[in-house]
Structures are given as structure tokens and as C-alpha cells.
Symmetry: C2
Subunit: 618 residues, 2 copies
Amino acid sequence: MTRKEFRELATPEAAREAITSLPLEAGVEYVSLSAARGRVLADRLDADIDVPGFDRASLDGYALSARDTFGADEANPARLEVVGVVHAGEEPTVDLEEGEAVEISTGAVMPPGADAMVPVERTDETDGEVAIRTSVAPGDNVMFAGADVAAGERALGPGTQITPRDIGLLSALGVEEVPVRARPTVGIVSTGDELVRPGNEVESERGEIYDVNSYTIAAGVEDAGGEAILYPHAGDDQDEMERILREAAEACDLVLSSGSTSASAVDVIYRVIEEQGELLLHGVAIKPGKPMLIGRLEASAYVGLPGYPVSAMMVFRTFVAPAIREAAGLPEPKQATVDGRLAREARFDEGRRRLLPVGLLESADDAPGGDPLVYPVDKGSGATTSLAHADGVVEVPAETDYLEAGEAVSARLFSADVRPPTLLGVGEDDPTLNRLLDRLERPRYLSVGSRPALRRLRDGVPDIAVVAGPIARETDGIELGSWEREWGLLVGDAADDVSGLADLVDGDYRFINRTTDSGLRTSLGVAVANLADDRGLDRDDIVESIDGFGVGLRAHESPARNVLAGEADVALGLAETASQLDLEFVSLGTQPVRVLTNPDRTQKAAVCELETILEDLE
Amino acid sequence: MTRKEFRELATPEAAREAITSLPLEAGVEYVSLSAARGRVLADRLDADIDVPGFDRASLDGYALSARDTFGADEANPARLEVVGVVHAGEEPTVDLEEGEAVEISTGAVMPPGADAMVPVERTDETDGEVAIRTSVAPGDNVMFAGADVAAGERALGPGTQITPRDIGLLSALGVEEVPVRARPTVGIVSTGDELVRPGNEVESERGEIYDVNSYTIAAGVEDAGGEAILYPHAGDDQDEMERILREAAEACDLVLSSGSTSASAVDVIYRVIEEQGELLLHGVAIKPGKPMLIGRLEASAYVGLPGYPVSAMMVFRTFVAPAIREAAGLPEPKQATVDGRLAREARFDEGRRRLLPVGLLESADDAPGGDPLVYPVDKGSGATTSLAHADGVVEVPAETDYLEAGEAVSARLFSADVRPPTLLGVGEDDPTLNRLLDRLERPRYLSVGSRPALRRLRDGVPDIAVVAGPIARETDGIELGSWEREWGLLVGDAADDVSGLADLVDGDYRFINRTTDSGLRTSLGVAVANLADDRGLDRDDIVESIDGFGVGLRAHESPARNVLAGEADVALGLAETASQLDLEFVSLGTQPVRVLTNPDRTQKAAVCELETILEDLE
């Protein structure tokens, strides 16, 4: 098999054009009025009835002929004979003659011979006669047939995205079925032997991970007005993958695949496209997004997204979502752009346009008019979750290789609804902290550990840093509050004779530590140094006799969970974690967890709120 | 029965408080990940696994011990023995010893003994030996377990409205069921004998109209994050109404009724509330919205909305929607406010705060920086459809009784998504025009007839006026284009011997005319005058011998539809309408339909576009 060659990366504009050239429209379908909200009208809708369909009394009172009220006023009321009554929903049974009136309810049909009505407040009825204490002109207090909407009138134009207000208009016209643009169906095919659908167990030792792209892209498709169809997971079996691709192409307007990082998946996709379709483009000069495929699969459009979730989502948003919206008849969402200044320098080593996911942070309230801070959000190329901590995207031109801190940048929010966090915190993982944060509106917290938190606080980006254990370095941070937590050893069944640090040194246990970024590790270091002093030994001697001391895990529950899984005997952790996961706990002491803020942020609303919450804690 | 008396209208603030005091929360429910988009997280979600769950190769290449690459470079590669291979989704089967390497795929598990990897581009493999042409540090090209998300980390806070990006995070954690705030259920009860649900036939002669409120309020409820339940239509039968109210109160968090303008409906509602609930408030000092009820019905909250659709929707939006959103955990929508100037003066005769539905119109493009025009949208108190032609609301304080044209006002858009029309047109109804407008993006057209259109064009609000027939008055309007239409008599079966206007004068037919606002009526007037001249008669003599000449209908199809319905024998109308509705047509001539614009609007984009479309027509 010879592959069609694409030696040069396509420009982003060419990629957009290639996708636009593929027909994704799904035709017209009819939906009931109760399902019409948010859908897009496929055709113009003209009124085919008058609304109201009859001359309608606007108030409760008396229908009459205006000329019979000529000259009437409070002093000289006109006296008319009441010859009947019409309620709403009734057909009038009398024709009015001169000198006659009919009692009428709001919304009722004006009887023949009446051309106006007088509200009940301006009348007195006694013994079949009504005194009319005002004069009226023809048409007064009557809504004529068709006054609201008239038959033949253009009611709603094609392309209208139906609001509740439009549903009011459609109801008034008696329309119960509405022709709308059908949602383009988008088949999502995920490949890769290592992927497991959420809800099932992953076997980490085999390198299995959860399939992030399928549900994420499906949600993106629905956001863009498409209908997502998740195909069963194809693994890396070529025949199965081919079968699923063909099935999806048959059923859908667009097929998206992702995670096709393995050579065999790419081979299958190439083969199916070459046999029954056309490859339009392979590779786009944008980062992330380079390994993108655009083509046709039988009658369906096809886009191959990069495998890494962040890349897949960025490419989807940039190139695919606009095409789905267009096919669904939805307008481009209103641009929500925020001008800010870059929180820290950023370097770009490649000559490709870059889409940089960023978080936003409002300036302190005591610096009015200050632009928000814009900080790049990046956990490395394999990260799946960075976008959940981002608010938007800064587009960096291909020729820019460096942006300095403080530089003015413009961030396009992920949607007009995005509300940047009220507070950005960084630092130690802590269960008490997790609960405190629940009491704030829209906080964002990045668990980077205590040491990096102090550095970041000094660099001026986060509002607060949360640090645990002894602080080695000087800090300008102002303490908003603190609490104590008990820490020690979390002990599995195989090590139930461990009763302190000394046992770990003397016994033969597999220990699992935290990283040096963590405040727990710092406190453990102090305990180790004390034990070394007690024994008159060097600290390193102690450390070397603990199997696993040198390797640490990032998160406060991870070591304990390794013990639970039988991969270690003893873990560094918190009393609260032990009790939560039902592990034995050997206390090694308590340590403070402190919440620090920079002097220029003490007046920021969310910081003040957090301070109050911390005061409650004490 | 004595009714609880509310002698004073409550303030809008008191009404808001009364609704807020009623509990609408619907608790927590679990939804699958594929149904989680847009829902609101009920609880904090902490990670209970590490992501990735293992140390993961970031690229294709070789896993090795960093110390084995010490000093290696292009000139002096390190040579390692290749002792195995690990693909993504496989468990490593070898432990690395010194001097060994393992071929590894992107995403695969780092084998024991390896602490770094080298991408394949920096290596050469021959005969089971790999030359490593670079040196690496421990951790290079490896994503450590938990580097993305670590067990115990706070993943998403309570109250998070779930975006596709959050779904990425939830997928990565393997979460398949998500605890979300249940949508408050809102029962919608409509009363009134005259109301008919869309999809059924209305009998206009009985004063029946379509039920506008039920579907419109239901759509508003769904917009606000609630779940709407439409109850069967209760009519005015008191027992049935009571039964439905109680059934709704049992099943729903909130019951909304509307259309209860009849005294009997109010009686039932009062009785049920007094017996098994509490009435908190009756009547609010706002317009529209005065006749509002707030209370409890058994365990459910209850709000009685005004009967008129525009009032019902305004009250719903102002008082009820925020409470539903709050209960659903949704944030108040971002305020989208537009500052503009009032297009024409507005007078307010009551001392109540007023919510004024308005349309918006961008200034001409040749008046840069000009504020948009804000014009009140009002078709009278019984109108059901005005809001479909409005973009937002101007709130007028109770003490303001007059706003002058040009005054600065601030309009709150119905939603942040509202896009005001690109073009505002007024004038004659015309089928050709309807089709032309389809080719513009978001035009708005108000069928006011030819004469009022000229007046409005002179007042400077609309961009274009469409006038048909002879124009009596001088106009400053600039003609963008025109077309001809054939007009005449549309004749029913009972009048198949009518072959001209003379037959109408001489015979005994029920004629149905258009209003004097219409250009068709003007042309008919000219024809009548000509006939009078021919016969040497007075125009009035001719007019009086046509039964029905004096009464006209607003819309171009309405007269024809009356003929179809057997209510008239002959109608004034267009050849196109006759052919569309399959009626006999007697031509009386052709008349021009002209599209006029004001001199200051000729450069506006949509006006230019329309001009081009009109040129195509010729």
C-alpha cells in the first residue's frame, strides 16, 4: 500500500477550508413544540391563521355600539338594555340592535352589531339595564382579529434559533410540529488497547487508562449542536477497527477518531480512507494538533484527532466544532475575550502557531482597573485534565517564540459562560482544606505541594499558598489562618507490628513516601533527623535503611492506596486518610497547615471570605 | 369563605423575597457521564485514583536507567542491550538491569528498573543493541503516576456546572455516575375554557384561542434549569381544576398556574391554598404583573402568573426563573446589557415600576460609535406574541411617567445569546418580500401596512419601509428596489360569476376588504374611483353598494381565508394568494411594491445586502 504523501503541514486556514468543504448537514426533521427550544428553524414559518381569530373584548364589561355612547359621561350616562352575556370560550347568541348592550368577559367574542366595549368599572347594571358613564369610539377596548398576528404574515425566518418567546408565537399560531435542522450525527470511534471506558476497572499494572476522549469529545459535539454516537471501543484489532469505522461512516454525517497513536490504527484508517473515501489533509501547522487527518469515509466526513486529550479537545474546538455548528445552523458563539497580562514568561520552541490553554485570575480588588492575570495551564503533554483548570485560550503566532511576564495578551474564553475563579490557591493537599474550599464560590486549587506553593506565591500569581509543616525559607506571605493535622505512618496488615519510625528503620518493610514538595515529607525529614541524633548516627544511614524512602508520590492519598493495593507495607500519610481508608495509623506528631496570602491580595473579596471561614474554624 | 386580604400591592422586592422563602430544591440525583454536560455537581468530587495510575512513557523509544546514558552524545552513544518490548496496554515482563534497555511505546508502563526514556529519534537499534545518542536525567520523558491528578486531590467543587472539559477530568478518574442537583420539577396548570392546545383546531366563532402560556412557560422553565410538566388543560370546571392543582402540588416542587382570569378559577385557587397551604402575597406593584399570587400548595411552592402571555412571561422571567435557577444550582446568567437611546417617546400612566419589552437596532454603520436604537415593542395588552419581536427589557422606575425620544436607556437582553436584528423593516405584507427576507441574516419585519410604514420611516426608527400601491404623500425615502404584484378579487364558489369590480357593485355578494393601512386597499380605492367616473356616479355610491367594503382585515391572506371558510364570497387579495389557496382570481391590475430606506441608512450592511438582492430580482 502506498500512502498519499503530505510532505508539508497544512496551514490552520487550509485545515478549516478542508473541513468546510465536507458536507455535514443532516437535513430537516419535525419536532414537537415542547422539544423545539434551542433548535434551529429549517424553513420560514408564515402565519396561516389570524391571532386572535375573532374580535376580542380586552376587558370585562359591556359590548355595545359606540354610537350609543355618544355624549355619555358620569353625569349623563347612556342607558342600554342588557340583552345577553358572552363568556370567554362561548359563541355569542345575540345580534345587537340600537340601544342594546351585552355583558362580556375578557377574551370573549364581540357579538355581531357591537363595535366597542366599556369596562365594567364605568358602568352600573340594574334590572336588565346598564348605565354607561363614558363615551367610547369604535374599536375601543377591542382587539381586532389578526391584530396580534395576521394570516400570511412572516412569523419566523429560516435559521431562527427558537427561544421561549418564539415558542409563544408558535403556540399562538397553533403550530405543534416545527421543521428544524436535524442535528448532524457524529460518530466517535476510540482506538487503543490501553483505553478503558469509565465505570470499568483499569489495570494500572498493564498500563490501562480511562478513555478520556470519547466522553469529552461527545460532550463537545453536543455543545456544538451535534448528536454524538459513541461506538464500542475498538482496541487495536485491525479488523474490528475497520468494521467499526465503516459502520460509523454508514450511520453518521461525521466520524471522529482519536487515540490512534499506534501505527496499526493509522494503517487501518489510511486503508479505509484510500479504499472508500479521500484523504484531504494530514498534519496541521498548529500546536497542539499537528497529527490531524481530514478526509471522507464513504459518504461521511472524517476527522482524525490527536490522541492526547488536551490536544484532541483543542483541535476539536478549533476546527471541528465550528463545522458542526455551521451544519446545525447555530451561530458562532459570541466572542468572549478577556484582555489581561501574562503572569509569567512563556517560551515556544517551535515555528507553529500555538494554542495556549490559560487560566484567568481577577486582579485584587484594591487594584481597581487592573487587568486580570493570564497564566498558562500545562501539566505536560500527556496530561488529560489540564483544560478543567483553564478558562480559555491565548493564540500565539508562529513567529513568536517568547512572551515576557506582564505582556498584554488576549484570551478567548472557552465559552461566553465561563466564569474565571474567584480565588486561585496552590499548595499542599489536605482534606480539611478541601472542605473549606467548598464554602467559597468557584475557587480553583492546584495541588502543587508546599514548597512550589511558596515559590509561586513569591512570583505573584496565586492568591493563596497553603503550606504544611516547618517552613524553611523566609516568606512575605501573610497568614490568614491555620489548623493542625496529625500525621504518621499508615500501616497495612503485613506490617501490623510497626509502632513507630524506628521499626521502619530496623525492620524489613516496603515504605512508600511523599515527594519532597510535600510538607509531610519535610516533617518526616525532621523526625528522621531526630532519630539519627538519638542513635548518634548520620541522617543518611537512617534514610538508607528505609526501603522506598527515596521515591515519593505526589498526592496525600496515593501512598495509602498503594498499601491497600499490597504494593507497599507502610505509607506516609494523615490520620484522617487512615481512618477514611480503614488503615492502621501510627502517629508521628502534628503539623500546622497554614494559609498564606500576598500583602497585595488581602483585600480581595474571596481572600477576605476565606479568612472569615478560617476564623470560624478555630 | 373569607379571603385573606392584601390591600396593598407588594413591592417587587417583597415578591422576590416571598418566592425565595419557598424551598424549591429537588435534592440529588445520579446521572451517567454522557448525561452530565450542563448539570450542576451536588457534592465535591475528590480523585480516588492517581492519573496516570503508573509511570508512563511519554514518547515512543527506549526505557532505561538514566545513569546508563551518562556522558552519551551523538559522537559517543551509550550502547545498551534491548531485553524486551512494552506496548501501551501491556504489563512489562522484564526487570531492567544495568546496561539494558526496553523498547517502549507512548503511553506504556515503564518497566521496573527504568527511570527515564529516550525518544526513538535519538537512537539506532541493530541486532538487539541500541545506541543512545543523548544523555537523560531520571524522570526525563516519563509522566509519573499521579502527575496529572493524584488520589485524594480535590477534583471538582460542589456547584460546578459541568463543561466538556470537566467531563474530561471525570473520565480520567473513571467516574461514570455523577451526583448532580436534581432539576426542580415545575408543574404548569393552565385554566380557561377558551384555551386550546396547539395541534388541535380552534373554533374562533366560540372565541377559542391557542394556549400560549403552557408551552412558553415550560420552555422558560427548562431554560432556567427546571423540568417542566404540562398538566392537562383544566377548563373552567372547578372540581377538575382543584383535582389537577392538588395532583400537581403532590408531584412538583413548584406549581405555576396562569390564565386564571376568570373569577371561578381564582376562587378554586384561593380555596385550595387556604385549605392546604398558605397565601403569602397577592398583587405586585409592577407592570406587567400586578395580578400575581405567591404561596404554598401542600408541600409545593405555588405562583399564579397573569393570564396575558406577555405579562405571564415577564413575571416569570423577573420573579420565578431566578428562583428556579437558584434551586437548580445554576448561576445567574451573565448580565448582557446594552446602552442605547430611546427611539420614540414613551408615557407611563401608572405609579408602578414598569418592565418595558424593547427591540434593539444597531445604528447605521456610517454613524460610528452611535448607540443602538431602543424601541418599545407593544401590540396592546392582549397581544401574545410581542416578545418574539423584542430583544430585552428596559426597567422604568415607578416615579418616571415620561421618557423622551433620544433619552439614554439601558436594556437588559433576554439572554446573553440574544443577537438583535441586522435590519428592521416595516410595511406591507407581501409573499415576495417574505422570500427576500429569508436571504438576509436575522432581519426583523413588522407588517404594519404601507401607510404607517411611511410614517415610521419618517420618524427614523426602521431601516426600511415597504410600501405597495400609489404613494399619496411625499417621502424622503430612497428606493432600494421594487417589484410588481398582481392584485384583484379572490372569488369563492358562491360567486363564480364575478368577473370584475362592476359585478361586486351590481350583485349581492359579501365582500371582505383590507384595512386602509394597506396598499391593496389604496389601489382598490383608485379602481373604485375610476368605476365611479365611468358611471358618472359619486365614489360613495359605489362604496355603499359593496357589502363589506368599509371593514378591512389587516393581513394579506386573512380575507382569502374568510372566503375559504364561507364567511364571505369575494375578498381583496393577490394573485399569488389565490393560486396558493386555490381560489378563483379576477385581476384588477398590478401595483408596485417599493422598498425605501432613509438617506442615513443607505450604507448599513444589511441595507446594502438587501439592495443587492433586489437588483438580482430584476
